[in-house]
Symmetry: C3
Subunit: 303 residues, 3 copies
Amino acid sequence: MKLHHIIESQQFTLPTLIELFQRADQMEQVVARGGTLDYQKKIMASLFYQPSTRTRFSFESAMLRLGGKVISTERAHEFSSVMMGETLEDTIRVVGNYCDVIVLRHDTVGGAQRAAVASAVPVINAGDGKGGEHPTQALLDLYTIYKELGVIDGVKVAMVGNLLDGRTVRSLAYLLGKFERVKIYFVAPPALQMKQDILDHLASGNVWYSLESDLSKVLAEVDVVYMTRIEPEKMPAQEKLPSPYYLDEAGIQRLRSNALILHPLPRLNEIAVGIDSDPRAAYFRQTKNGVLIRMALLASVLD
Amino acid sequence: MKLHHIIESQQFTLPTLIELFQRADQMEQVVARGGTLDYQKKIMASLFYQPSTRTRFSFESAMLRLGGKVISTERAHEFSSVMMGETLEDTIRVVGNYCDVIVLRHDTVGGAQRAAVASAVPVINAGDGKGGEHPTQALLDLYTIYKELGVIDGVKVAMVGNLLDGRTVRSLAYLLGKFERVKIYFVAPPALQMKQDILDHLASGNVWYSLESDLSKVLAEVDVVYMTRIEPEKMPAQEKLPSPYYLDEAGIQRLRSNALILHPLPRLNEIAVGIDSDPRAAYFRQTKNGVLIRMALLASVLD
Amino acid sequence: MKLHHIIESQQFTLPTLIELFQRADQMEQVVARGGTLDYQKKIMASLFYQPSTRTRFSFESAMLRLGGKVISTERAHEFSSVMMGETLEDTIRVVGNYCDVIVLRHDTVGGAQRAAVASAVPVINAGDGKGGEHPTQALLDLYTIYKELGVIDGVKVAMVGNLLDGRTVRSLAYLLGKFERVKIYFVAPPALQMKQDILDHLASGNVWYSLESDLSKVLAEVDVVYMTRIEPEKMPAQEKLPSPYYLDEAGIQRLRSNALILHPLPRLNEIAVGIDSDPRAAYFRQTKNGVLIRMALLASVLD
């Protein structure tokens, strides 16, 4: 598998996804060896126009685990501090002479695509603006399902929370739709439900989905509960707790014994801390899988 | 020697201290070799909730000298920037999936202990809040005495400056009390003297100490002068200079020929710059020893 | 060649420049090998009192390409955050115990020289204050001419833009004056022309130069066009565009087929983006050469 720029989750075909996940599986051996000679010559530049320590650390850990090297900034705006006038394209052309791959966090939608057009080295999109793409998050989510359940075909997934604004759930729903016999339950307050464009896309591919407003009603049905935040100010006024969009100790009683609980993190209070020690709680393992999938992506663009 | 979390100086027994110092001695050979294969697979995360470039550089230099790798932030608060709601415990569990050891600088007392409870990888406390612990500073101070004088039993140490608020002098006095026949002279304005809890602890262990208010009177007696800052606004109004809590060229005339002058740095003006070239001025060598002791600590938690 | 501190471009003799450029040429092989064993033990500290991601990335890429390691801060002022009182000299003595070479960006003229006096390890000046020195930029500019044209003797160079305030053009003019039969055309609005001290220096060495105010008149004459920014507020009011200090597609028609267009970057609008794909546009290759020259400099001070 040879990839070049990684800009949006839509660019991944089903065979590429499978090959990527198999390569991520192999990365645990690379970690055990402490990297490989192939990447000792390689430099990754973390070029972040906004701080995102979580994403930056995950990519940098991945590059170091491969055996490679890293240069890093979370204040990329200061690249052009002298005149406040350098274009993103010029910055990318310069940084491309200092490294072998650029991991870009930009603050405007479409920034990663603009960078890719200008760049002589591969660009990996680590998030570009509110509402933009963040493909590696969706890939690591999907990889976690693949790795933990062994299969994605036929999986039943509940997506919970603010689905209207959630970048992650949109991309994950899109990618899930590439697999066979998947069922998706969108669980959200009506005002925060999944947008019609994704629903239309799923319908056009004959992917089963349903719109729900109470998590407790679907818990017994699903293989995966994918929790996301609902910002407090967007949460509908509640007559009584518990919230129908939160997961607590009572809730997981209904969950199948081999089900998975996922969350892109950070969490606010939508998953009770008491659940963390349950073996089905996979959200911290998910971050570990994020390093493996980013190792596989970096290797695929550097080879 | 196998250590796990390093949270406070009180956790070190006398045999562990001796073994640690012997291991630090060996680290000069590891530096000369450019690290060892054992640590090439290892990643240290610098997770700093406050900037402290001095401490961060010392730990990162130590990890690189071992042959290991580093990911780093001085803006760890931005880990939870999306929601400003992630707990320290969640952040630690995530970062632990990106690395093999976490060096934590937190901004609240007890932060390191909370992190250690949550963490699957070793946590090293690099300072947690005003008045909290900063154990590696006390360890490097004590190691410097051991390394430069060859022995700690029987040493006579003057601690000078603001002893009331000084985290370092408290920990160092505590650790010195583990050795035989140590004598400690606390030299400070009465309002800034060492707190009673440490004095009681020393008394309970039959450690000799005295409270002094004029450095010049003890200089001829001691093997080590440990200078610390007195913030200008806390310095008592002086009828005349020189200050009884400053060390100048005249002062070191009284000092024994093989005595040591230490300082945790940064200094303000409590040690005259003219003393820097005196062979007894060990405060810059102290920072070099800090790298060795942190190499030994990192090695001990990573093995 | 063995260098120690690198503080100002004036310290380089003609034979040292030639040897440096030959060493930079060899560095492409070191990059291909992924560094050498000689530098695996070495740590470079990026000690930046001002952010300058471009310069920092270039040096850090150079050190990593050599096979070495890096510790890095762009907020060096926080080294002395506790008391806001530590001197630059004390900071340098501490950092020198954490690394093998310090790359210093300071915010006051003469800061690099002060650091060099205090330092036990080599200091490389990466810019010290507005109007101070930034010797590695001038060296990479000159190296680019050497590398691309094969020779510097006899070269004809137009320097264009705000020559009054431009640190880079001053240093480059100084260094060019060391070579034989060089001709320099200073092209600037009269109020922004090269200062008399440099002109006197060139005259004393019998270096040919002329003062020009229209770039289009010299384009056909020169081997190198070295463009620099004119801040909008300093640009004289123009009756009509195109500006006589900008380079556009029409302008490069007049340029010799083997001429070079250089720019220290970032650019504002003084070079039309349409020129970027012209093979004579060497300003992005210039940043690649910057890594090679900094590798050669680092190697020369570390050996």
